[in-house]
């Protein structure tokens, strides 16, 4: 009994955290992304799942007639409903990563039907558990774990999409997020080896909570329109570069779209936004082989920062970007995208001052613009 009490306490604690977290973000109007509603549904379902093992234990204690039948039905419902929270969680993550979920949705619903068929077959032809003289008996201990495979599927699919979509991220973002996905899988292995079914869902909620906080923090570093990093990220990198600048030179390129204002004025804001997205895609494509930071600095200004090694690099990068531009301009006839560049190299001898550095960049870019 005390074991159950402690378990209930854990669930209560996690609930408190979830309520406070969601309350905070709701109160400060920070829940911008619509994908959080999937996470909300998923966490709610997971909390309901938390109570399943508890009720199952209660059914074990009481001596009621037909208890075996109730337990077998209850167990079947549990195995089938395993898939619900996991499905919603996957949809949340895909939605957050901007993956179109039209096709993958149907793929993710397969485990639910599989589990349903699995349990229904067992009901007629028992091979996992059965009713023997009105009591509940397991036949095969290993086949019980087959419905839990949905967790494995979810972990694999989310990891795949994280790897595919966070390609441009710098630092440990990708690794950390994947690490969070693996928490329930590790829990599953432990649970199977120790036969403690309760704790799967508490660990699952923990993984959800970590992912949620990670997403919220990361979102504040990403520009909503183009998906590039915004100034928050730049500020953090400037701090990092301050340490780096003692060892190596730093190259920064400020990029500005020429005549963006005329595109905006002539075709309206919708096309202007489209042009910004196209421009950011061009930049992304052209520097995908380099490891560097790409930031949307202001309205139509972008910033590239990296460590500086050779002189040819600047020309390499600008020619790559211009090449991509020409490719795009051939395809698109309504408006043309061209960039002006302002470059600045920071020598390791001087004291690094992030703000002044960016200011100088801005000046150089305007010079470049005037020359055209």
């Amino acid at each position: 009994m005390i074991e159950n009490l402690n378990y209930l306490f854990v669930v209560l604690c996690l609930m408190l955290i979830f309520i406070l977290t969601i309350g905070y973000f709701y109160y400060n109007k920070l829940m911008v992304n619509t994908s959080y509603k999937y996470l909300f549904i998923s966490s709610l379902l997971a909390f309901i799942m938390c109570f399943f093992p508890f009720i199952y234990k209660l059914l074990e204690i009481n001596n009621v007639a037909n208890i075996g039948l109730y337990r077998s039905i209850f167990y079947g419902v549990y195995l089938v409903s395993l898939a619900f929270p996991i499905y919603h969680y996957c949809i949340f993550l895909l939605d957050f990563l901007n993956v179109s979920k039209d096709k993958i949705q149907y793929f993710l619903i397969i485990p639910f039907f599989f589990n349903l068929i699995y349990v229904v077959i067992n009901f007629f032809v028992p091979f996992i558990y059965k009713l023997e003289n009105g009591s509940f008996v397991f036949i095969n201990q290993i086949l019980v774990y087959i419905p839990y495979l949905v967790i494995l599927i979810s972990v694999i699919s989310t990891t795949f999409y994280i790897l595919k979509n966070l390609k441009f991220s710098v630092g440990w973002d990708c690794v950390i997020l994947i690490g969070f996905q693996f928490i329930p899988l590790i829990a599953l292995v432990l649970i199977i080896s120790f036969k403690l079914y309760n704790y799967l869902w508490t660990f699952y909620i923990l993984s959800m909570l970590f992912t949620f906080i990670f997403c919220i923090i990361r979102q504040s570093h990403i520009d909503g329109l183009t998906g590039l990093y915004n100034r928050n990220e730049l500020n953090e990198h400037l701090i990092r570069y301050k340490v780096k600048s003692k060892k190596c030179n730093i190259l920064a390129i400020m990029i500005d779209i020429n005549d963006f204002k005329s595109i905006n004025d002539r075709y309206g804001h919708v096309v202007g936004d489209e042009a910004l997205i196209e421009a950011s895609n061009i930049l992304k494509m052209s520097i995908k082989d380099y490891k560097m930071l790409l930031v949307r600095y202001a309205g139509d200004e972008f910033l590239i920062m990296k460590t500086y090694n050779k002189e040819e690099e600047i020309e390499n990068i600008t020619s790559l970007i211009n090449g991509e531009c020409q490719k795009f301009n051939k395809k698109n006839k309504t408006y043309q995208i061209n960039f002006s560049f302002g470059t600045e190299i920071f020598n390791k001898q001087n004291e690094f001052d992030g703000e002044r550095f960016v200011e100088q960049l801005d000046k150089k870019m305007y010079e470049d613009k005037r020359n055209k």
Partner: protein, 383 residues
């Protein structure tokens, strides 16, 4: 290991993961959490405590073996650390509510813990080894209980110093903690395990609420900052476009702020900003968010419900008059230029809005002095 002990391990593993998450995050973002040293110490101690607790309860060693000593050492360190964590949490709460606390006072607060440690050592000496953590150990929970009670009282008394949500959440956390500790102390011998759980949950919640709030607030005026506005504007767009509600946006800037800055120095300029922020936030009322957008620009957004159009503007002007009368003989007077616009249904566009504000700010900066008339005129043209 019995199944009960494995359950115990799993319980504690969850809380250990939670605490480690906070600790790693806080250490990774050193810059942001510079002043939160009490919180860091509390987190670190909590991690050690949970590990000690797991080590102390996981196995039943044979009497006389080395493992028994290890178990006793683990349990002993658990009881040693427990009240210290609550002590640091208490100090952190004092810091949150900006209660000044000298080193002497801090030491005075620490004295109960020293007494407690003496008792603990006496307990170890007087009783047999295997009795540590049994018998009257429930009494050990009185000390952390007192610190938590003190923190809760501070939260209630000083609740108006911070945001309403934060004080409410902190109160909720402390009520939860106190209940958990009372239950733990009363039903200790029945094998209840609420300590590490409740503590790690509350540190996690405090971390979330207070520290994430740090990144959304301007350190000088404690109003919400530009990034918070950027995300909030999307929410207001949603309310405006999908839920069809009217929204009023008020923009305020301080007249001749550059002059104040130039003639009285930056410190005085900062003080003027703080005063202005106080006037704005106190007169805008509950549930209305105020943002400091840039140097001396403030933005207020609210959904028109109880407070009608123009009421807030009038309130601010009234408050400003009161303030200026109070400081009649001061070096300078604060004056606002206030421009406002009502967005009727489906007319607010987030990108346009932000771009417009940015442009206004930029032009303002270029001009050097913010002459309010042209600013307001421009604003009304654009809105």
């Amino acid at each position: 290991m019995s199944s009960e002990q494995i359950g115990y391990l799993f319980n504690n593993a969850i809380f250990l993961l939670l605490t480690l998450f906070i600790l790693i995050y806080v250490l990774a973002k050193r810059k942001l959490f510079q002043s939160e040293k009490y919180f860091k110490v509390a987190c670190l101690l909590l991690c050690v405590m949970i590990i000690a607790r797991i080590g102390g309860e996981m196995y039943n060693p044979l009497p006389g073996t080395i493992l028994e000593y290890v178990k006793v050492a683990c349990l002993f360190s658990f009881y040693w650390i427990l009240p210290t964590i609550t002590y640091y949490l208490f100090l952190y709460i004092l810091q949150i509510f900006a209660v000044k606390c000298s080193d002497l006072k801090k030491f005075l607060f620490f004295i109960p813990i020293i007494i407690y440690h003496g008792l603990l050592i006496a307990d170890l000496c007087v009783f047999k080894l295997d009795q540590v953590g049994n018998g009257w150990s429930g009494l050990f929970y009185i000390m952390p209980f007192l610190y938590l009670l003190c923190s809760a009282i501070v939260t209630i008394v000083k609740r108006e110093k911070v945001d309403a949500f934060i004080s409410f959440a902190l109160l909720l956390i402390f009520v939860f903690l106190i209940t958990a500790f009372t239950l733990q102390g009363l039903f200790y011998q029945k094998g209840v395990n609420f300590t590490s759980g409740s503590l790690s949950i509350s540190t996690f919640s405090i971390f979330l609420i207070v520290s994430l709030d740090l990144s959304n607030r301007d350190p000088l005026t404690h109003l919400l900052n530009r990034e918070a506005l950027r995300s909030a504007i999307k929410y207001y767009c949603y309310v405006n476009n999908k839920l069809h509600k009217e929204i009023e946006i008020i923009m305020i800037d301080i007249d001749e702020f550059k002059n104040i800055n130039d003639s009285f120095g930056h410190n005085e300029g900062d003080r003027a900003l703080i005063k202005a922020a106080k006037i704005i936030s106190s007169s805008s009322g509950e549930g209305v968010r105020c943002y400091r957008y840039g140097g001396d620009e403030f933005i207020i957004i609210h959904v028109i419900k109880k407070r009608k159009v123009g009421v807030i503007k009038e309130d601010i002007e009234k408050e400003l008059l009161l303030h200026n009368e109070k400081y009649k003989d001061g070096d300078y007077q604060i004056n606002f230029s206030i421009g406002s616009n009502v967005y009727t249904k489906e007319s607010l566009n987030d990108i346009e809005f932000i771009n417009m504000v940015d442009k206004l700010m930029y032009e303002d900066k270029k001009r050097g002095t913010s002459t309010n008339q042209s600013f307001i005129g421009k604003k009304d043209d654009n809105l």
